[in-house]
């Protein structure tokens, strides 16, 4: 962020620190790509985002999408940027080489994902959804489907959607009513309406490939009766041209709080031709395969939101002068001191910063685990650890991303409420991130119910052991030792809390629901505490000469800042876990006692 006038600069130094100094993955000659390769690509991605996506972000918001007579148009600047993005090969970053991808590791693509969101959240939607659709196809599609669709989607010639939600069901997919009926040719006819379909129709690609959850006649009720179908907007005609209509229509787009440059479509399927992906009635399994990756992607959106919010805010706090410092004039040559001298402004700035960098470290750790699970015969413990951390990353990093965006408005004062400053758009665009890909409440239930209690606490213990080991290993670190001892106590307390809730939950499952949100947030604060501790001891060890940096040119100020900001995290953020602990232990009674009548008086 050398140039403060710049709107956004990708946090490459921090990303390199994570990849070089914090990574568990040895950058050995045996690895197919070296970190140097990754940095090279990362820099190209950063340049694309800074040069092509940042400048069109505000314009896309004010132009929005148009719906006219069944046709959707997106802002022309976004359409052009999408073509350049796809033509440069970015769609295939982590896709298999077989279909034109570059098969690069997730530890790179989480960085690119974060950068895209920071630069232009609305833009990032179409690529992200297309990649999700591709992943479902790769894991569960037939060879015929793969060979027909994947290459065109990975090239960005065609794009993809996920058609899950219906007007009466969002979180509760078991209620899906869209239907599918097999036809004589082994195909299926799909019928139903879907809402909230991001990029459901637009004018930036030649064809749109919908992945649709629907129910076969006679299938079981609930989510175990759902099947997943591939439904192209256009079919191949007799001449081999993909221009035959398939009765897939966009019947409207939503007016939304934000994300104006990405169309949110209501889609109608009327006896549209579809192809089964995976097995009948196993649609949810096909969905779950990619769920972890989608949620990890959403968590990086939260990180990107925190990062962009910080960058806007720090630039303003340095430039804007207002009031004198309480401890004496700091800029006598100016009529007032910069905002940065005021402790309360720093509180908000550093909150954004520790959420961005802590969340990035968590995301990078998860990406490493994900890369491991992509190997042959992945380790079961690795899968379990990733399963545990994913709802924490999604739930916590999107919640903290919103908090960061709100701080950005607050730091800008009245100017933050004005569109011109660009910060209110960050909040408006980001507001969806705690809702889609599973609301925070859903993540919380997934974490506490399925991932923690569902493994009898095993997955949690495997993580708290990692935390405990860090604390023990570095208890001679003079600077960080007091903080490590706090963290160590949390690593013991966390499983204890789980036991207490488990025992209440045995008697009444609502006790699990009543504790879940506070448990998620508690988990998030402790988890980021671990990553901040790890970053700080790594930085301090390099500063102290106890360990050699892999990047010999690493900036000493950068390392010192890591230690300072870890201290801020432990002083000013981690204590929030105290409240969440107290609240989750109070049980469900005061939450559930009032009747509907009492709530509507």
């Amino acid at each position: 962020m050398a140039d403060l006038l710049s709107e956004y600069q990708a946090p490459l130094a921090d990303m390199k620190f994570l990849l070089n100094e914090m990574s568990e993955v040895p950058d050995s000659a045996s690895s197919p790509v070296t970190n140097e390769d990754l940095f090279f690509i990362l820099e190209q991605g950063a340049r694309f985002a800074e040069d092509e996506l940042v400048p069109i972000n505000a314009q896309g918001d004010s132009e929005g999408c148009q719906f006219d007579n069944g046709q959707v148009t997106i802002p022309p600047s976004l359409k052009a940027a999408f073509r350049r993005y796809a033509d440069a090969g970015w769609m295939g970053l982590s896709m298999p080489e077989q279909w034109g991808g570059q098969a690069l590791p997730e530890r790179l693509s989480v960085c690119i994902g974060e950068i895209l969101t920071s630069a232009n959240h609305a833009f990032s939607m179409t690529p992200a959804l297309t990649m999700s659709a591709c992943r479902a196809l790769i894991s569960h599609g037939s060879d015929a489907l793969k060979s027909t669709y994947l290459e065109r989607m990975i090239s960005g010639q065609w794009t993809g959607t996920m058609c899950l939600t219906e007007s009466h069901c969002g979180s509760d997919l078991g209620l899906v009513r869209s239907s599918a009926a097999p036809t004589s040719e082994g195909l299926y006819q799909i019928k139903g309406n879907k809402i909230f379909i991001s990029s459901g129709q637009h004018d930036a690609s030649d064809n749109i490939i919908h992945l649709v959850l629907a129910r076969l006649k006679g299938a079981p009720q609930g989510i175990k009766g759902l099947s997943l179908f591939l439904v192209p907007a256009k079919l191949e005609n007799a001449n081999g041209e993909w221009s035959a209509p398939n009765n897939v229509h966009c019947i409207g787009i939503e007016e939304k709080m934000g994300m104006h440059a990405n169309p949110t479509c209501t889609m109608s399927f009327e006896q549209s031709e579809g192809y089964l992906i995976g097995k009948e009635n196993r649609g949810i399994n096909a969905m779950f395969t990619m769920m972890n990756e989608m949620r990890l992607g959403a968590s990086m959106q939260g990180v990107g939101l925190s990062e962009r919010s910080y960058q806007k805010s720090i630039a303003y706090a340095i430039e804007r002068t207002q009031m004198r410092s309480l401890s004496g004039i700091k800029a006598p040559e100016k009529e007032a001191d910069p905002l940065l001298v005021h402790p309360d402004v720093r509180r908000m700035l550093l909150t954004q910063k520790v959420f961005a960098e802590g969340g990035r470290a968590l995301g990078q750790f998860c990406a490493n685990l994900l890369d491991e699970t992509h190997q042959d015969n992945p380790d079961k413990d690795t899968i379990q650890l990733l399963d545990l951390l994913t709802p924490i990353a999604k739930g916590f990093c999107t919640e903290t991303g919103l908090e960061s965006a709100s701080h950005a408005i607050q730091i800008h004062g009245g100017h933050g409420f004005v569109k011109e400053s660009g910060v209110e758009q960050l909040y408006r665009d980001g507001r969806i991130s705690t809702i889609y890909e599973g609301t925070t409440g859903i993540q919380a239930l997934d974490l506490l119910g399925r991932k923690v209690l569902g493994t009898q606490g095993k997955s949690l213990l495997s993580f708290t052991k990692i935390i405990h080991t860090l604390c023990k290993t570095h208890n001679d670190n003079l600077v960080m030792a007091p903080y490590l001892s706090v963290l160590s106590r949390y690593s013991k307390e966390w499983p204890d809390l789980t036991m207490k809730i488990a025992s209440k939950g045995m008697r009444d499952a609502d006790e699990v629901g009543a504790a879940s949100f506070d448990f998620l947030m508690y988990s998030g604060y402790v988890t980021l505490g671990y990553f901040w501790a790890k970053m700080a001891v790594t930085a301090q060890d390099i500063l102290d000469g106890k360990r050699e940096a892999i990047d010999a040119t690493i900036n000493q100020d950068f390392l010192q800042a890591k230690v300072n900001h870890a201290q801020f995290y432990f002083d000013r953020i981690l204590p929030r876990a105290l409240s969440h602990k107290a609240m989750m232990l109070t049980g469900k009674n005061s939450m559930m006692s009032s009747t509907e009548a009492q709530l509507t008086l």
Copy 2:
């Protein structure tokens, strides 16, 4: 809220409970108005808001204001509603009878203020600003100014503004550059540009009366060199018509996150004629007179935001079915259970509710104090207590109002992100409330620095004594006793914390700044704890027959809900004070240690 389909119903039952059962003001025959009178007017106000303001709220947001060739037009529906509001006499509710007002107490006008914001935040701006301008005029204007302007402003024929902010100064009014020069006739010529002037120009009144902070030549630097001037947009011509131009121009309106139906104007004054209000160089004093009332008004906007957010959310949570209850099916006749069965949804709903009702009780208490200070020879302790509670009310209730609005979006899921649901507008409109009338950071410094430390803790001790007395008096209340004992501990801890910060602050004033936000929020949680405790013991005593309700028809479910929700407050909200306590005690170091270079790497 009998009719769930209704968009908004003013919380009259709760307001009556506060006025009847919680008020310190005896409803005696000697009082000029009885509570029955107040309720009658309150019901009229509620009906006006529900019938006239609610239906035009979304429309006003989407239409917005227009700026064309120096002229500002507001949505026609708001213009018409303003006329009806003014013609019905609502502008003068708490204004002196001498100029056409009704001289009704503040304990009524805070209720009306809350209702207006809930119904239509953008609409509420012009009346509120006009009343603020009138108050400054009443307290500090000459008789000639009063007789020329007040009646026309109180009737709504003319409206008013507060012109404080300039592009380089918002919180820091000491930097104001607008200038004033006396002219031969004893008038002043005003010159300068002001930004963020709400209702600075519009087409709903015949004239606009600007109260402008400006600096006389040779005046001291900073806020002690500012004077306040009344500058009409139009002057009286020789024929006695108020149509002569005064070189007051709107040179643009802002595009904003929300409040689209209220114009935020950039105003230019070019040798405009102005009249001094109060004394030269004492403009800030004239401002401070009305500051408490303006801040109390803003706090009620936060309360109104929480209330409206709750009403939208509870209606949706009852109507919308999604997932089955974890503890077994609750609505077997439906395909899923209502959202209301899910503990985490209830957590968000009750959070909104306790912020609304707790904030309302705080606001009502402050209004009673304000009414007392309006008497002849007001008690000094009363003034000091009001001074203490005002920044808490403003800072805390607007912050919690925003939280409530964000919960409303979350409870509505994807639908909350869509404009049609109407909840995202609540957040967008409300987002300004933690910024204007002094940001939360400014309130926090005012509270800790001026009101608490500046009185050597005296004002705080007068309030903690009230809390302690409540806890002691009701320690035999079986239901509430455990909570009262918690509250009692807080009432002792609060001054202790103050001492600790004071002693650090003696050595380094930045320690006060570093603690201020957490101190404000801690104070807010404990303060609302007091009001929830008081409401609960009052309700419980009536339920137990220990005390007779003033309103004999009071609903038993309403009383039981008060007790239940107090328990929720103590279980699930008050523990947040634990974190704020821990954070404020960590001091400034980790906040202030990083250099600008380290923050911009």
